[in-house]
């Protein structure tokens, strides 16, 4: 082992504590302040400190309840992933919240909007403190508060096709968290061009869908086209937005961990008015 790695292993072991899961299984736990000490002493990004601890069998305590849904090596893999999130409104706010808390190491996101009062019913990043402010700034502040290990790039503009191509190069996954139909086909094309799987979703009233589009596959954006859509009259209530974002994250986190995408070429369609969920084949 190289001396620096050896020193890191010794120091992280010294900072780790014995802990037990609620089911009694023992594990070595790295407290929050221990991670900060290691980052400072070794000049490493906190996300890399956490990933290296996981490599050595030490669980950063903030991810303790991710076990055993995600193994230690899968958690390290999440920390070493980069996800592109397009849109920081209803879907995007919840998606960002979940990906940060779950420990996705790098997130590149964009939204050119400011928060307005009609966002307050559902958009997690909107509040009396962030009204009239950019969604991107609110995202940066929120991410820093809930997980300082996440490196978030939040761009306060609407990306065009070329911006999407640039940001998607080398990314592991893209999340379509946009509102409306018009910009979704561009993201689907850009993700396909970059060879990046895309997890998309949309809602209208109590209905919505989530789908995974692998490069080259037909996606919902292809079938819907552009123009007016059902949410113009049915609105966007909080439960359907949060459900759709949650389903997107469950699928995205699995794909990042190397699990087979469960919704590739499919749409999971839900209707919270009668609580029906059905997976349909589209490709």
């Amino acid at each position: 082992m190289v001396p620096e790695r050896e020193a890191f292993a010794r120091r992280s072991e010294a900072l780790a504590l014995d802990a037990r899961r609620p089911d009694g299984v023992a594990y070595r736990s790295l407290p929050e302040d221990g991670g900060a000490v290691l980052a400072r002493e070794f000049g490493l990004a906190l996300r890399e400190v956490q990933a290296r601890c996981l490599d050595a069998g030490i669980v950063p305590e903030r991810y303790a309840r991710n076990l055993t849904t995600h193994s230690l090596s899968e958690q390290a893999r999440l920390l070493r992933s980069r996800v592109v999130v397009v849109g920081l409104g209803g879907l995007g706010g919840h998606v960002l919240e979940i990906l940060c808390r779950m420990g996705v190491g790098r997130i590149s996101a964009a939204d050119g909007d400011l928060f307005e009062q009609s966002n307050l019913n559902r958009q997690l990043l909107s509040s009396s403190l962030t009204l009239e402010r950019t969604k991107a700034t609110a995202a940066l502040e929120r991410a820093r508060l809930i997980n300082p290990a996440v490196e978030l790039l939040a761009d306060g503009v609407f990306w065009d096709f070329e911006d999407m191509e640039t940001v998607l190069a080398g990314a592991d996954l893209a999340v379509d968290a946009m509102g409306g139909l018009d910009d979704r086909p561009a993201l689907q094309r850009a993700a396909a061009g970059a060879g990046v799987p895309l997890v998309t979703a949309a809602i209208a009233g109590m209905s919505g869908y989530v789908a995974t589009v692998l490069p080259g596959q037909v996606g919902p954006a292809t079938l819907f086209g552009t123009g007016a859509a059902a949410e113009d009259s049915l609105g966007s209530p909080a439960p359907s937005v949060a459900v759709a974002a949650s389903l997107q994250c469950a699928e995205a986190l699995g794909i990042l961990c190397g699990w087979a995408p469960t919704l590739a070429g499919k749409m999971l369609i839900f209707d919270l008015a009668d609580m029906t969920f059905e997976t349909m084949q589209i490709a």
Binding site: L91, A229, A230, T279, M280
Partner: protein, 75 residues
């Protein structure tokens, strides 16, 4: 024949009351069903027949499940 019909989002108002036991003439296509329900065909963006995306010309068989989905883009 008896079929089941589920209309989503803005199409929900066209969903028949007896949606799980909807009576439809034998050999009717999905396009025919859309007309029977009084839906503007331009509003139907995705048709599901027994869980698979199909064209409006697809013929419905007894016991089939039809899902009609409009353009949905909210977030």
């Amino acid at each position: 024949m008896i079929i089941s019909v589920k209309c989503f989002a803005t199409l929900a108002k066209f969903q028949p009351k007896d949606s799980d036991g909807f009576e439809l003439g034998d050999g009717t296509s999905v396009a025919g069903l859309i007309e029977v329900l009084g839906i503007d065909p331009a509003e139907v963006k995705i048709i599901f027949l027994n869980g698979k995306h199909r064209a409006p010309e697809a013929i419905i068989a007894p016991g089939d499940r039809v899902g009609l989905f409009p353009a949905v883009g909210g977030g």
